[in-house]
Amino acid sequence: MSARPNLPDGLVIVVKEECETCRMVAPLLPSIAEHGPLTVFTQDDPEFPKELEAVHDADLAVSWHHDVETVPTLVRVVDGVEAERTVGWSQSEWRRITGIGDLGADLPPMRPGCGSLSVDPDRIDELRVRFEGGRLRSRRIELAALEDDIEAMFARGWTDGLPVVPPTEQRVLAMLDGTTRAADDVVASVPPDLVDVTVEKVAIAAVMAGCRPEYLPWVLTTIEAVCTDEFNMHGVLATTMPVGPVIVCSGPGTVAIGMNSGVNALGQGNRANLTIGRAVQLVVRNVGGGRPGGVDRATHGNPGKLSFCFAEQPHSPFGTLAESRGAPAGANAITVFAGEGPRCIVDQLSREPESLARSLAACLRTLHHPKLVLAFDVILVMGPEHARVFADAGWDRQRVLAELDACLQLPGAELVRGAGGIAEGLPEQFADATLPKFRPGGVLLATAGGAAGLFSAMIGGWANGTVGSQPVTREVGT
């Protein structure tokens, strides 16, 4: 990697022969040089300009490191530091900076410049590796001559069972453009092995998952959330229950990056939904060391452990889940939840909110087992048509949740072991009590899904509270 070259003091002009504006200003250069120190850098043809001897910025190190995006660029340098610059030809600016009052009298007042070679789309990936590759710290692994790229990823055990995108330097550097954070910033300590993961390592996972750079801040924030003591990723991995991180994304940023909160929101097909979830799982697997057969002991698991990430409807009648959990209004945020696969709730006939609330409650009651209460949370993903039944009746989030809670006060007699001829259940001592199915705050309400279909979905959780996992909401950084 080349180091940042310094600019000489005085005036510096960067040009390329291919640019008409540069050719137009070339005759001015000798008179500028008479007024004071002048260094001209030429990007393409070393013989240009013929009026003055120029330095050939052959590898574009000067142009890259000094952010030259347009040619010609005129810079005034004082004691090694850039004082000011102008791009393209502007008679007034060039006269002011050079101090030559009648400079370019026979030229038009203004003429735009051309694109600098250092920002040429055909070259930029190669330049990035050349000039920024050194900031990558990860071990480079050479693929053997006979190895197929994709097979090589499988052979090293780096995949989740599906092919991954090989994380070349070029791809990882391009991914790092998606965040303002430094590549060597430590994001979190990843269970189960409690290995520190840097922004760079998360970017590698994001490349492998198939993310675009603009998804990276969402992945970074989710990793932070997943690695908290509250979320308890180690427990989530080690349990025999079929749970994994479920990521609910909120805010206008979800639309900006093209996430799906509508038709088939929990299904396949949307790159942002699927790759964000996948990147998080790849970090847990490859950095944290959590994988099936190792720490991951799930009896059945669920397909969501590949990736389970979706966006909430931006204009839900209930506000967003993130806002209800403390995120500022309109913020971009994620909520992670230790959850299983979704189950469908069907109600195609309830037109009144009371009826629909009872319907939803009847289905929620069966979460994990009809006789088990309080130990599990749930995400209720309300479909838009169901949400409208409540919204039309003026019910807000609080009202919906309160009504569900009222319908889910259960008689202990039905819940105790042996009741209904079923051994599972609560200890005898609860026979006379009335118990709620869910703890306060245990129902997380989000709105997502297509506009047609009188369905909702429920995503059951792992054990809640301090011995299990608690949902975590975080605002997304940059």
């Binding site: 053997a144 001559a145 190895e147």
Partner: protein
């Protein structure tokens, strides 16, 4: 060598035996496969014109190395 590489991926420790003609090729191929540490044992060369008694002697000479390549003690 590809077979031994594949069988190791399937969980079966393996070793291949080749004549000394193969020493360089084995080095190059194993590196190209991304498995430089693949276990191998070499016999003298040539093979084709050896009598049965000579072949058995090759086997006896190679035996200790072969077993060592497959066991940990």
């Amino acid at each position: 060598m590809h077979d031994i590489s594949d069988l190791e991926l399937r969980g079966v420790p393996g070793v291949f035996v080749a004549s000394s003609e193969f020493v360089q090729a084995a080095e190059a191929q194993s590196t190209s496969l991304g498995f430089a540490s693949i276990a191998r044992v070499f016999t003298p060369h040539p093979i084709q014109d050896r009598t049965d008694a000579e072949m058995r002697a090759y086997a006896e000479a190679a035996y200790t190395q072969v077993v060592a390549a497959l066991t940990s003690t």
